[in-house]
């Protein structure tokens, strides 16, 4: 019994000693990690970056538009309307391609009336058929019509089904098919932000106006010759309307200054330095012509 106590005591003591040595708190080594580059992006920047761009340039491998999950089928014109109708085949076989053989001309010359109608136009066919019903005394000298039109196993013309004659040739687009649905065309999203007008565009615009503008120099009252002109532009950069002055003055000096600003604006058009992508921002511009700094000292 005492032996058992002793063994137990020694065993406990051994476990205790081991745990004291092995489970003692050791400082955890922290290895220095690689530095991570962090860019600080403002919320508006982020929104703009992720929103996509309505007028972004076409990427090299655009994600195809997919409206139906199926095997991919090339779509030629994504903007055309979808039509479920099957393509309608012409009721009759297409006319033989005109051969360039000179020998062919002979039979045509021999039958001048026939030459007129090698086409498979159903309406014309129907009309021709109607014509055949009527005996035409005038065409007496022509060949009898019966041998002329033996071949056409033409569809019966029913005037109540004229609509069947219509709309046969319109090419329609079939739904774009692909592996996954993708409703957005590749050029951006419907919520995309337009491109921002750039400072270099503005500078180019300012530069052109400055070159063409001849302010009245040597004026006594330079504050009289500050002119504000509002212009409305078309997407191609031409003026959509005559420019209008938005400030006014009565003096002859103001009138001369206003006219000089107008001339500069009119002569400067078209403003082709402005990109059409940013049209929304420059379709309406107010330009302040202020020569005071330039004329200081005159």
């Amino acid at each position: 019994m005492k032996v058992a106590y002793a063994i137990s005591g020694i065993g406990h003591a051994a476990v205790l000693v081991w745990s004291v040595w092995s489970l003692a708190a050791k400082p955890l080594p922290v290895l220095p990690g690689d530095a991570l580059p962090v860019d600080i992006v403002s919320v508006s920047d982020f929104t703009q970056m992720t929103a996509g761009n309505l007028s972004a340039p076409k990427s090299e491998t655009p994600k195809p538009l997919v409206e139906k999950v199926a095997e991919a089928k090339p779509v030629e014109d994504v903007t055309a309307k979808i039509d479920e109708k099957k393509e309608v085949k012409a009721a009759r076989e297409p006319p033989p391609a005109p051969e360039a053989k000179p020998a062919e001309t002979k039979p045509v010359e021999s039958k001048p009336e026939k030459k007129a109608e090698p086409k498979s136009d159903p309406i014309a066919d129907a009309l021709a058929k109607e014509e055949t019903k009527k005996p035409e005394p005038k065409k007496a000298e022509a060949k009898p019509p019966a041998p002329k039109k033996p071949a056409p196993p033409a569809p019966k013309f029913d005037p109540n089904q004229v609509q069947a004659l219509l709309n046969k040739q319109t090419a329609t687009r079939v739904a774009a098919a692909g592996e996954t649905l993708n409703s957005a065309p590749a050029l951006g999203t419907p919520k995309g932000h337009a491109a921002q007008i750039s400072l270099s565009e503005l500078d180019a615009l300012r530069q052109r106006l400055a070159q063409l503008w001849t302010p009245p120099a040597g004026a006594k009252d330079p504050q009289e010759i500050v002119v504000q002109v509002r212009i409305l532009l078309k997407p191609d950069g031409t003026l959509a309307a005559p420019p209008m002055a938005t400030n006014s003055g009565r003096s002859a000096l103001f009138m001369a200054a206003r006219d000089s600003a107008m001339r500069a604006v009119i002569r400067g058009a078209p403003y082709d330095m402005l990109r059409p992508e940013t049209y929304e921002q420059w379709k309406d511009i107010e330009i302040t012509f202020d020569p005071r700094e330039m004329l200081r000292g005159y």
């Binding site: 007008i197 503005l202 615009l205 300012r206 106006l209 400055a210 070159q211 063409l212 503008w213 001849t214 302010p215 009245p216 120099a217 040597g218 004026a219 006594k220 009289e224 010759i225 509002r230 005559p242 003096s251 002859a252 000096l253 103001f254 009138m255 001369a256 200054a257 006219d259 107008m262 001339r263 500069a264 009119i266 002569r267 929304e280 921002q281 420059w282 379709k283 309406d284 511009i285 107010e286 330009i287 302040t288 012509f289 202020d290 020569p291 005071r292 700094e293 330039m294 000292g297 005159y298």
Partner: protein, 447 residues
Amino acid sequence: MTNRLSLSRRRLIMLGATATAAGALAGLWPRRTGAALKLDVTQGNIQPIPIAIPDFVGVATRDPALGRNVSQIIASNLQRSGLFAPIDQAAYIERIASIDQTPRFADWKQINAQALVAGRVSQADGRVAAAFRLWDVFAGQQLHGQQFTTTAENWRRVAHIISDAIYERLTGEKGYFDSRVVFVDESGPKERRIKRLAVMDQDGANVRYLTRGDDLVLTPRFSSAPDTITYMSYGQGDPKVYLMNIETGQREIVSNFPGMSFSPRFSPDGQRVIFSLQRGGNSNLFVMDLRSKATTRLTDTQVIDTAPSYSPDGARISFESDRGGKQQIYVMAAGGGDAQRISFGDGSYSTPVWSPRGDLIAFTKQTQGRFAIGIMRTDGTGERILTEGYHNEGPTWSPNGRVIMFFRDPGGNGGPSLYTVDVTGRNEQPLRTPSYASDPAWSPLLQ
């Protein structure tokens, strides 16, 4: 009563209709919203405006070249101003046959004309009638249109008046072409130079002599009335100040004081003449009322005060004085009193002339043996030299205060001649005179 009531009701209805129409119009009008983009243009390109001036259409003119002459005078006037560049007629595409038709603006745009003058002259029983239209080629609209009638011998004035109208409409400032210049014509060899007063149009045409050359004449000046001048003449004895009507040739002595009177000049209202009077070693300023002949002394110093000139409102006088040691420009009230020195640059300043526009004073500046013509603001700031050389003197302002005429003497055996320069200093041009010329004085615009 009922009648009146119904009438007023009808009027009310009409008023209502008008109001509705106005409202509808206002609705149709594009609403003034702020423009999307605002842009400031603070730099321009100062260059002459290209202008096309085809020959005026002549209607029953005795002289078939009249239309051409008128357009040529206008073109040369505008060109001399430096603000316009008349386009060579050989480049014109459209031929103006009538001024009542709208020109084909595309033809004029193609030769880059920004403005187009289409005119007509006609002659009937000794009178000349001229009409013109000024077109803005790029805007495609008429800027100005006018007609004049005058006697046949005055046809040059018609061209000058039209030039003024074009100048004013396109630059915003009054023109100066319908004006004259009186000057001292100098002929003969250097030792026996004959000096005569002469008057001509501002472009050098129609020279007419006013004196015979017996007396030495100096410093002619115009009154506010363009037919009256004052000048200084050395006859027998001391120099005297004279008045002269250049139309009639009538003249009278203004002052008859002991001593020598110098540098006369009219007040802006033409009622007084201001001059300097030298007695002994000093010179002082006096003003004389022409009607009452009453003379008032303005300065009383032991130095030389001379070359007085009124501001256009008549409230102040600029003059030159050596009271500070060297000749400098001073400004004081028209009634006399304390004078304030405004010129502080190197060298000496003389003959200040107040611009008719009131904003600038022109002067002659002498530094290191060279004479320059310059301008400064009336407080002495913004001094700018317009031209410099061996000898430049006698600045006089054009009626609109844009151009200064002066005379330049190259030295040697030659003689002085007249020049014009723009206040920007950009456009210096000689003015042709029959012989040597000095001491120009520019008239106000003719009436």
